[in-house]
């Protein structure tokens, strides 16, 4: 039972352990979504763990002139050049210099395409019962882009990100 360690090949130094946080397991019956939770501007977001290859600390990001403004640049992930996007900017938040807590979440879009998302901090991995999710209300058009739903769970409001739609245009 190790969906979270799907890519255990990551550098141990730069990879947060995704295991060991599954203490809630068994407590709920019914289907649940296992999510990596992270913070952006003090709000909690989640991405389905199946889409995540690894989480890295922020090193040097090589800028690429002329690229889309949301693209911070590229990093070298064991020989593969990976674009890093500023997730804050994607959601219309103010940009912020990366600090010690900042992380890059490496997301698998498909077999050939991976992308890095810079986030303020990565919190934990949690199983969230599916029934907790409410579909997005369509009132706030812009903000609901790339969002799959919202869950109220254990005192948190968790916004589930739909990475596929987020990068729909970027994958060939």
């Amino acid at each position: 039972m190790s969906v979270a360690t799907k890519s255990a090949t990551a550098d141990s130094t730069s990879n947060l352990a995704l295991d060991g946080m599954l203490d809630e397991e068994g407590q709920y019956s019914g289907p649940s979504v296992r999510c990596v939770l992270f913070e952006l501007d003090d709000e909690v977001y989640g991405i389905n763990v199946k889409k995540i290859r690894e989480v890295l600390r922020v090193g040097h990001i090589r800028q690429v002139q002329g690229a889309d403004p949301t693209v911070l640049g590229v990093i070298n992930v064991r020989g593969v050049i990976v674009s890093v996007i500023d997730t804050r900017m994607t959601y219309g938040l103010n940009t912020k210099q990366p600090d010690d807590l900042s992380r890059i979440i490496i997301v698998e879009l498909d077999e050939d395409n991976i992308v890095g998302m810079l986030v303020d901090s990565v919190m934990e991995v949690k199983d969230i019962p599916e029934k907790q999710f409410e579909p997005m209300s369509s009132t706030k058009e812009n903000a609901s882009r790339y969002l799959q739903g919202i869950a109220h769970y254990q005192g948190d409001v968790i916004i589930l990100i739909d990475v596929d739609s987020m990068f729909a245009g970027a994958v060939e």
Partner: protein, 663 residues
């Protein structure tokens, strides 16, 4: 339709089609070559076999007809003349169309789509011979599987569902059965059949063991000197005509045919089978993967090389080990690269046909000579070169070679010659297309350039002849007054030039009025590893493809003038525009003292430009990696690479850079 078999079939068929393309054209010049005829016959037959198993009926029909025609031809009952070759070529085109469509995922075909072509093939086959009436009827019935008596038939091992899955081995075996049958005399037919061992579920899949057993059975039946009777959804086409007792011509042809068949079996099939054992088909994706990993290894090696010598104590030992690693890596890189190499024949193979079709259409007589077809080239390059070469060859046929009468009046032979050559030149491949046609007139080109508004008269007249020839590669320049459907399909010489430039190659044109034109293309051996010049701007490094770099010198303010708003550097007799990378890479930067900077003179096609950079850090061989998601088609970059010290360097794509500067 079973996808796995289908894919196997497609791979095989695609190769056969390529072979047939060449063979058919070759056949035009030597229509009596029995080896060739047999090869063509077998080609159609094998495709038919595969198509039959997959149930692609219209394809079977076509191949079957084509095969029958060739059977007659190789038996001397039919002449492979112009008419025959035209019909066959059309059939061939149709067949290769089928394969292309299958490759594209089309799975349903209209049974009736090729009716006229099939009729024509039938007419061609029957010709004026007396037995014309009987044969078509027979073919029609034979197709359905209700084969006539007397003929030996192929049979699927019992219990193998003709609609179901079949393994490669089974397929091979059926082919083998067919080959065995061919020389046998059908009349002494025995009732023996291959039997499935007891207890084998006829509906189930056959195991290798069971299949082996069947093969043994078959062998032992043959051992008794009797022809095995086997049945198949398709009749064995080869022996059919000779088995028929009625028509006299068929019978008389029998003695001729047998040796042919035997020879063909001995001469072609066996070496082919032997070769099959020593080669393995590998998915190119897997090769790309290996190539990628080797690239990684090269980078690690580079990194070690830069680290070497930084520590005094272990320096010597380490240095030795790194030296070894260096050797091994270099060899490994070369070997892996070789696995991706394909002979340039792959591209050249299509040209006899292209030239034949075109010259016939235009009423020209042209001999195509090909040299150095075995020169190896990276697979990706082979594919990338196909279109530009086709264009150039078409140009030679259309514009280069004159009409026969015209040639005669000029005192040339009526037949024009086009020579297509490839040779290796160091780490480059030189491809050339030479024709002995009318050549190009530089004055005419200059006039045309002025007329088309490509440049003004003064500039045009200053061009030397060589530069004038290069005008044909300028955008918006076409010397053909009328756009024919041969050239001028929108793929102009400028597109050819761009394609070659993209491959880090160059084009060179030589021409002499009345004597002909020679176009030479130089491309690197491989696309995967790129020799570059590493430069730095502020803290970031960039790689410039070394093939474009002409020279490097110190920035000297005294040599630089502003002409018409553009900074130019005087380089010997020429003025070369300067591109300040800072303007592009860091527009906000207010640096205006460039002393100590370097100017890298690059050439893109026939254009020169000087890039002003902070530092030049020497040469490095780099592995091109795509920029990540959202940046794959970013203009100005060819990709990125990881340098010896583990940093990322962006590889500049010079045509894109120039475009960015709107230059």
């Amino acid at each position: 339709m079973d996808e796995e078999i289908l894919q196997d079939f497609l791979v095989e068929a695609t190769e056969l089609i390529e072979g047939l393309d060449e063979q058919l054209t070759e056949l035009e010049s030597s229509p009596d070559d029995s080896d060739l005829l047999n090869a063509v016959f077998r080609g159609f037959h094998t495709i038919k076999g595969g198509a039959g198993f997959l149930g692609i009926k219209p394809l079977v029909e076509l191949c079957h007809r084509a095969e029958n025609v060739f059977d007659k031809i190789r038996n001397g009952q039919l002449e492979y003349d112009h008419h025959a070759s035209d019909v066959i070529m059309r059939a061939f085109d149709e067949i290769s169309d089928f394969i292309t469509q299958l490759n594209d995922g089309v799975r349903e075909f209209d049974d009736e789509s090729n009716k006229t072509l099939i009729d024509e093939l039938d007419r061609l086959r029957t010709g004026d011979t007396d037995d014309a009436a009987q044969e078509p009827a027979e073919d029609a019935s034979g197709q359905g599987g209700s084969a006539e008596s007397g003929a030996p038939k192929l049979e699927l091992p019992e219990g193998v569902d003709p609609e179901g899955e079949i393994t490669d081995d089974e397929f091979e075996a059926l082919l083998a059965q067919r080959d065995q049958l061919a020389p046998q005399d059908g009349e002494d037919e025995s009732g023996k059949k291959l039997q499935l061992p007891e207890g084998v579920d006829p509906e189930g899949e056959i195991t290798d063991d069971e299949f082996e057993a069947l093969l043994e059975q078959r062998d032992s039946i043959e051992g008794q000197g009797e022809a095995p009777k086997t049945e198949a959804p398709e009749p064995a086409p080869a022996p059919k005509p000779e088995k028929k007792p009625e028509p006299a011509p068929a019978k008389s042809a029998k003695p001729d045919k047998k040796p042919d068949d035997n020879k063909a079996d001995a001469g072609k099939d066996k070496p082919h089978k032997a070769a099959a054992e020593s080669t393995v088909r590998v998915d190119t994706r897997r090769l790309d993967e290996i190539m990628n990993l080797v690239g990684e290894l090269v980078l690690v090696r580079n990194r070690l090389l830069t680290l070497r010598g930084s520590d005094d104590e272990t320096a010597e030992e380490l240095s030795g080990a790194v030296g070894n690693l260096d050797h091994v890596t270099t060899d490994l890189q070369a070997s892996v690269m070789k696995t991706r190499m394909q002979p340039v024949k792959k591209v050249f193979g299509r040209f006899p046909r292209v030239v034949r079709d075109l010259s016939r259409k235009l009423g020209k007589a042209i001999n195509l000579e090909m040299k150095g077809e075995d020169t190896d080239l990276d697979k990706n390059l082979v594919e990338a070169l196909a279109d530009p070469l086709v264009h150039l060859v078409r140009n030679s046929v259309d514009h280069g070679i004159e009409m026969p009468d015209e040639r005669e009046a000029e005192g040339k032979s009526r037949d024009g010659t086009i020579i297509l050559a490839a040779e290796q030149e160091g780490d480059h491949i030189l491809l050339s297309i030479t024709d002995d046609g009318k050549g190009m007139d530089p004055d005419k080109l200059r006039a045309k350039a002025v007329e088309k508004g490509v440049m003004d008269e003064v500039t045009a007249n200053q061009l030397d002849d060589k530069s004038a020839f290069e005008l044909i590669m300028a955008a918006g320049f076409s010397t053909a007054d009328q756009v024919s459907d041969i050239s001028g399909r929108g793929v102009g010489m400028d597109v050819v030039k761009n394609m070659i430039t993209k491959l880090n190659g160059s084009i060179d044109i030589h021409s002499a009025a009345g004597e002909g034109t020679r176009i030479s293309i130089r491309v690197p051996l491989t696309l995967a590893i790129l020799p570059t010049l590493m430069v730095a701007f502020e803290d970031d490094s960039y790689a410039i493809p070394l093939t474009s770099v002409q020279e490097i010198f110190d920035y000297d303010g005294n040599q630089i003038n502003k002409i018409d708003g553009q900074m130019m550097v005087r380089l010997r007799e020429k003025s070369v525009p300067l591109l300040y990378l800072k303007d592009w890479l860091n527009p906000g930067c207010s640096k205006d003292d460039f002393s100590g900077d370097k100017v890298v003179i690059v050439s893109i096609g026939n254009q020169y430009a000087g890039l002003v950079v902070d530092q030049v850090n020497g040469q490095e061989e780099v592995v091109i990696k795509p920029l990540g998601v959202m940046m794959k088609h970013l203009e100005g970059y060819a990709g990125a690479t990881i340098t010896g010290n583990g940093n990322i360097a962006l590889i500049l794509d010079l045509p894109g850079v120039l475009k960015r500067f709107q230059f």
